[in-house]
Symmetry: none
Subunit: 327 residues, 2 copies
């Protein structure tokens, strides 16, 4: 169910380039002998259609076939790294395009290892994967307390989205080596690890997720004053752990929850304030500091408040709001 996580960023495919996982050497080596084949797994890839792309982000989402199996391939160019500049300048060739006064433009051809393209393959891919990466229109939904009880909650419960992958992380059955920090306390504790969307090569686009150990908090809607200590603990220790590991101070962090979230097990996003990451928009994000203050002044703030959030055209929850005449 890792796919649910990747929804974490944003709503449209454009604004949510696929996450790259970090190196896990043990996994890489697990299936010896296949690595060579894997090096050429895409050489026979047949494109059926481009699901979406972003000229701004230099990414593309493609549906096609790998040896008769449906696949989704996501390509995204990598950020330009300062520490590679010297080698880039000395090792590249330039094709002059235009020169005018003090301005000139070139096409720079770089050594391939300095200009990699992050590639994610989902194979075999289901219809659901294909739909997920298709560019989609969004609508702002208004959800009252009653809407939540009558529409959203029944929908979440009926879908019973699996969060097995979350339990795998919390129980160290998966991704244990990726954990940046853990507070093991069953009530106030959490696990902090890099989001799939962050390649960890530079702090510019730093993105970590804190996943709480408590397993009965679905989302912001479930939070009451009982959870203030939990939230304060995540905020405080998360900031400290990030400063220690990445040297990024709290004044450079945007710390927030999503509503609706991508998966219904409470988690908190830590992103670099300077990085305009998808999903940080006011229509979906809630600063943890605001959440804490709101719960301090009204224990049932998030139970009773009308909340607004965007849903994409193909979201099952949107259909439910439409059926109920709420859109």
């Amino acid at each position: 169910m890792a796919d649910k996580r990747q929804l974490g960023g944003a709503v449209t495919a454009e604004s949510e380039p696929e996450a790259k996982r970090t190196k896990t050497e043990s996994e890489n080596r697990r299936e010896d002998g296949e690595d060579f084949d894997r090096e050429h797994v895409l050489s026979g890839f047949k494109t059926s259609s481009v699901l979406s792309d972003s000229a701004r982000e230099k990414s593309i989402f493609i549906h096609g076939k790998v040896a008769d199996q449906d696949a989704v391939v996501i390509l995204e160019k990598t950020p330009i790294r300062e520490d590679a500049l010297a080698e880039l300048f000395s090792g590249s060739t330039l094709k002059l395009e235009m020169r005018n006064d003090i301005y000139s433009t070139y096409r720079l051809q770089a050594p391939p290892h300095l200009n990699e393209i992050k590639t994610t393959v989902v194979c075999p891919a289901t219809e659901k994967h294909v739909k997920k990466y298709q560019r989609k229109e969004s609508f702002l939904v208004e959800e009252t307390e009653e809407d939540y009880k009558n529409i959203t909650l029944p929908y979440i419960q009926k879908q019973s989205f699996s969060v097995q992958w979350v339990y795998n992380i919390l129980e160290k059955k998966a991704e244990a080596e990726r954990i940046v920090y853990e507070d093991p306390d069953p009530d106030a504790g959490f696990v902090l690890l890099p989001d799939f969307k962050w390649d960890q090569n530079q702090v510019d686009d730093l993105y970590l997720i804190a996943i709480v150990h408590q397993s009965n908090i679905k989302s912001l809607r479930d939070l009451t004053s009982e959870h203030i200590l939990l939230l304060q603990n995540i905020f405080q220790k998360g900031k400290e752990a990030i400063f220690q590991r990445y040297n990024l101070p709290a004044t450079k962090l945007r710390v927030y929850l999503h509503y609706q979230p991508s998966y219904y097990h409470l988690h908190v996003h830590f992103t670099n304030l300077g990085y305009k990451v998808p999903g940080c928009g006011v229509e979906r994000a809630h600063l943890i500091t605001d959440v804490i203050q709101n719960l301090q002044s009204d224990p049932h703030y998030y139970k009773t408040r009308t909340l607004y959030f965007p849903l994409t055209a193909d979201d099952g929850l949107l259909s439910k709001f439409k059926e109920a005449g709420r859109l």
Copy 2:
């Protein structure tokens, strides 16, 4: 004073990558014999500093020297082109990073001619060029009720930022022809007009501003339950006017206030929900629907609450927070 308004949008170079000029063959040929040198013009480039970069947009702005001359070099990776995919897949090698179930990730190394980097050189560059491309670093500031009274309010009052241009609009001395809608009521009324950042050619990036007729409301901080009717009026009539003029329904709108605002005369932003406009991030934007609800449940919500917002390194208000030991 139009410059104050433009601060409303993007401040950093990130959101405004340098335009690429098109080929002008005649210019290319003008100085024969130099083209070979030009191919290696950057091989001796010495980086002095990175002025700014964008992990999302895969661009970087560098200050340095080309043969003793000051230069600014801008690199930006190129969008992935659909028509080059087949050649890209057949001609690249993949390095496996991670495999888990149906997901695998790779680093793809492409033939250089299929993966070019757009390069712009400004040489010789002046101090002005260097400043233009410099990122203004942002810091998240925490402003308590006391901080507002002791630091922010005195700063605003001392600066006495001119909002004469706002009065010109409200009094129809300027931009009268740009007004999309007006409610002339002195208490609940406002003027709705397109933001300067919107060229009005397409609704994809629709951006309008509602400026209130009341002249004594500086910002969100001044709002109390007395202003609920004003806010509801702006929200309701603004939505209607936008639907009538641009055929964009309310479910496609993000309606919010900024804190800190760019100018201290209350105004409300209406933007297309699908447009990830600078300034719509949770760290600066406040949904008008949230503001209304918060004032309904607590008349002094915004007077008493600790508010968080980003300030750039060169902002005078940031210096005041630093002097007060609040950063």
